[in-house]
């Protein structure tokens, strides 16, 4: 059985699992990083969003084989202490309700702002098109993204 190597939150990890295992379950079950959430497993809710080489990807639709050899950042690795500008903006706007979908939202926001420091409303709509928040925190997500704009290096 082959093993796979990937860098997760800056640390090289060797994983012994089937090649088609979604990265989501490697993170949650193998590595114990439960900040990345399972919402649908169908690529339709965005709760499992992580960064793969800096790009926001859905970890339920990314296989271990695809992630191997790459760098993965999860919500736990976004900052050491919650000080990432997006995390700070999320607190300042008091975004979360139940909070379950928010790690995915935060990872998408961080990737968006890295790509485009000052996104338009249209950019924000597009970036979050595949995300679901059933509690309806959307107006605050938009505000928090704008608050963090320009602050993500």
């Amino acid at each position: 059985m082959p093993t796979y190597q990937l860098t997760v939150n800056g640390r090289v990890r060797t994983v012994d699992a089937d090649a088609d295992t979604p990265l989501l379950w490697i993170l949650r079950d193998t590595l114990g990083l439960t900040g990345t959430k399972f919402g649908c497993g169908q690529g339709a809710c965005g709760s499992c969003t992580v960064h793969l080489d800096g790009q926001a990807v859905k970890s339920c639709q990314t296989s271990l084989k695809e992630a191997a050899g790459h760098s993965v950042i999860t919500v736990e690795g976004l900052s050491k202490d919650g000080s990432h500008p997006v995390q700070k903006a999320w607190i300042a706007e008091d975004v979360a309700q139940c909070g379950y979908c928010q790690p995915g939202m935060i990872m998408t926001a961080a990737a968006l702002l890295k790509r485009k420091a000052h996104p338009t409303d249209g950019d924000i709509d597009e970036a979050f098109a595949d995300h679901v928040c059933r509690c309806g925190t959307y107006p605050r997500i938009r505000k928090a993204v704008k608050r963090a704009a320009g602050g993500v290096k």
């Binding site: 919402g39 309700q97 139940c98 309806g136």
Partner: protein
């Protein structure tokens, strides 16, 4: 048996009584309290280092109880909010009323939490006064300290040992609202920092030593049973440990979630089913039965005057049929629970809105006493009434038992979640209005036909309050009309049912407020003016079992209309619509929606909401509930569950669409100040969102929409 609301009231009261009993009893618990720890009641522990632990007697599912409920206690005790730790209660003798639903969490605990804080405050003051040899009334409290004459100051931590030895006052004085330091101020969500760093622990994040994961293969037709299966291929999947039969299906137990899912997929290919009595059920036959029931016999929910006679005598009768589909909860965290069965008992981790029932039922399923089943309630990734059900928690206990030892987490996937929801059922509505020659509304008749949700709560029995419960939002129509007839004709359906955010009020208020809009236009009257006229100059009015203060409803309607600029000139294709409701006679809310329809596509620009929910505990939480409630309501404009051959057609967010960020309107919230006791905010914003929008669509286009979900092309 009683209605859901009565049930909540009763259990809430029982819980309160017990908590009060405890607070009078005031015994520290062995093992939990050291000599220096002050634990005057089940809600509060003050440690010698001055930190305070508050136990929240309701469950957090996003509605903010882990912030709002501690605020009530902390206010009376003058705690330092930055030194508070919040923990979740566990069902048991201390907490018998953990059921969380019906927008009752704040109102149901408000008195006991404030009294718990006030009693502790008086005891700490007495302890300090004794130490300083002054009278207790010469002392006051502030941010975790008792302050005495001459600049004396002692922290709560240092006083905790002495305070613990004092009697608990039975009737401690409560603060006046003018003296509040925390209540009424914006307090950010307590769990915000844990959520944004991924540290918050939801049910699916529970990890116990030696934990395995199970996925259950269930019959796609609710109520069906497994007939035959072959587990050889499932067992060959890497990581699968066992395949066991449980009452709900066949559980595949594995080392990881992915292995459990893959094993279940292999098993599913081999399964044959006895699909049971629901096998031929489909939405179109149900609709035909509901339509027939619109004119057959029914149970009265409200009857004032003689609506039949008044309709016959009317110069003009308006009649319309409204339709609302089955809806799912579709919480983003799918159902799950983790259970461990040992030789002498069991333990469970379940995101339950009904922890006491979850405990009782899981214990009963395992042949245990409730006290042998310890239940931990982690954070809940969306509830909306779905997790009032105990199906998923009982099933997890059964799987853990069948697995033969060690903790097992049962994980549902999205398809499980939609196929085996406890659905909010479809209804058809027949509305008739009688208008006399002078343009007055003389009669109102509202017939509702559909399955009865209340039976899901009464073990299948028909409760005496069934008609009132199923017509909630319709029977309590707040308008003064000489003849009113509201009734409910039950149509049976073999589908699991359950409570849903806003309950029956959502479809019923949709039909009522849209049809009233039709009446206004038929009379050539402005819809706001007609509502204000029909609300009239009345005070508290009783409708059947409910009372509501019409003045409060009128006020929120006026405020929402004024803030939204009701009556202003809008460009072609753009319109304003409004709706209002007195939720259970407790929370008053009105919404004005501004929409446009371009090339048949609806765009909801803004919803302006005015609410009166009594005293506002946390304005930040209130606004979040308004935004979330409107989002939940609007989401239902676009979604439905349909049935074919006993199965849901929908299996995921791709075919059960929920509102996305780009569709979310701007929300403006206005609070009408009130000195009344706080009521609740979780559900009241939900039911008026759909009618406000559809009335706005009519204003924008002249097209009256009477059916949810919307079609893709509105015109």
């Amino acid at each position: 048996m009683t209605s859901r609301r009565d049930f909540l009231k009763v259990t809430g009261a029982a819980g309160t009584g017990l908590m009060l009993g405890l607070y009078l009893e005031a015994k520290p618990r062995p093992g939990e309290a050291t000599k220096a720890t002050f634990r005057p009641n089940a809600f509060l522990t003050i440690r010698p280092d001055g930190t305070a632990q508050i136990t929240v007697p309701k469950v957090e599912m996003g509605q903010g109880v882990r912030t709002a409920l501690p605020l009530a206690l902390a206010e009376e005790l003058d705690l330092d909010w930055s030194k508070i730790e919040v923990v979740n209660a566990q069902p048991g003798p201390d907490f018998k009323g953990m059921q969380t639903g019906g927008s009752t969490s704040v109102s149901g605990t408000w008195d006991s939490l404030r009294k718990a804080g006030a009693a502790a405050r008086e005891m700490l003051k007495a302890a300090a006064a004794a130490q300083w040899n002054v009278a207790a009334d010469q002392c006051r409290t502030e941010k975790g300290f008792v302050l005495g004459p001459g600049g004396k100051k002692l922290g709560y931590g240092g006083l905790s040992e002495a305070a613990a030895k004092l009697p608990v006052p039975k009737d401690p004085p409560l603060k006046k609202p003018a003296d509040y330091r925390l209540l009424g101020k914006r307090t950010p969500r307590f769990d915000g920092p844990a959520i944004v760093t991924g540290k918050a622990v939801f049910g699916l994040d529970v990890r116990r030593p030696g934990q395995r994961v199970a996925a259950v293969l269930r019959c796609p037709v609710p109520g069906g049973k497994i007939k035959t299966w072959d587990d050889a291929k499932a067992k060959a999947v890497r990581g699968v440990k066992a395949v066991v039969e449980v009452p709900t299906g066949i559980a595949v137990i594995a080392e990881s979630t992915w292995a459990a899912f893959k094993g279940r997929e292999a098993l599913a290919a081999t399964a044959t089913w006895d699909e049971g009595p629901a096998r031929d059920f489909n939405s179109s036959t149900l609709e035909a039965k509901m339509r027939a029931a619109l004119t057959g016999p029914a149970d009265d929910a409200r009857r004032e005057g003689d609506a039949g006679k008044a309709l016959k005598a009317a110069a003009k009768v308006l009649e319309a049929e409204y339709s609302f589909p089955y809806q799912a909860h579709a919480t983003v965290e799918p159902m799950n629970a983790t259970a461990l069965v040992t030789a002498d008992g069991a333990e469970m981790w379940a995101g339950s809105q009904s922890a006491n029932r979850a405990q009782e039922r899981a214990a009963a399923a395992l042949g245990l006493k409730p006290e042998q089943m310890k239940v931990n309630v982690p954070l809940i990734g969306g509830g909306f009434g779905r997790r009032l059900g105990t199906d998923f928690s009982t099933e997890a206990a059964q799987v853990a038992k069948a697995a033969g030892g060690g903790p097992v987490q049962v994980v549902w996937d999205r398809e499980d979640d939609l196929r085996h929801d406890l659905f909010h059922p479809a209804t058809l509505h027949r509305l008739r209005a009688g208008l006399d020659g002078s343009g007055a509304l003389t009669a109102w008749a509202h017939r509702i036909a559909g399955p009865a949700v209340l039976r899901s709560w009464t073990g299948g029995q028909k409760a005496p309050s069934q008609a009132a419960t199923e017509s909630n939002g319709a029977y309590d129509i707040p308008y003064a009309i000489p003849a009113i007839a509201v009734d409910f004709a039950e149509v049976e359906a073999p589908t699991p049912l359950g409570w849903w955010r806003g309950i029956e009020i959502v479809p019923n208020v949709f039909a009522r407020e849209c049809f009233l809009d039709e009446v206004a236009h038929a009379l050539g009257k402005d819809p706001l003016r007609l509502r204000l006229e029909l609300l009239g100059e009345r005070g508290t009015v009783k409708f059947g079992r409910e009372t509501a203060d019409i003045r409060r409803l009128k006020k929120v309607l006026e405020v929402a209309a004024a803030k939204a600029g009701w009556g202003r000139k809008l460009p072609a294709g753009r319109g304003l619509g409004l709706a209002c409701h007195a939720y259970d006679g407790r929370t008053y809310a009105a919404e004005v929606a501004e929409v446009s329809v371009v090339k048949g596509r609806l765009r909801i620009h803004k919803v302006t909401c005015a609410v009166d929910c009594g005293l506002v505990v946390n304005p930040a939480g209130l606004e979040a509930q308004v935004e979330g409630g409107i989002a939940f309501g609007l989401s239902a404009l676009f979604s439905q569950i349909t049935w074919e051959k006993g199965r849901t057609v929908q299996t995921g967010y791709h075919d059960f669409p929920v509102l996305r960020l780009a569709d979310m309107p701007a929300i403006e919230t206005h609070v009408v100040p009130s000195a009344e006791a706080p009521s609740g905010m979780g559900e009241p914003p939900v039911p008026i969102a759909i009618p406000a929008v559809l009335n706005a669509v009519f204003a924008a286009t002249g097209k009256r929409i009477r059916k949810v979900p919307l079609e893709d092309n509105l015109i």
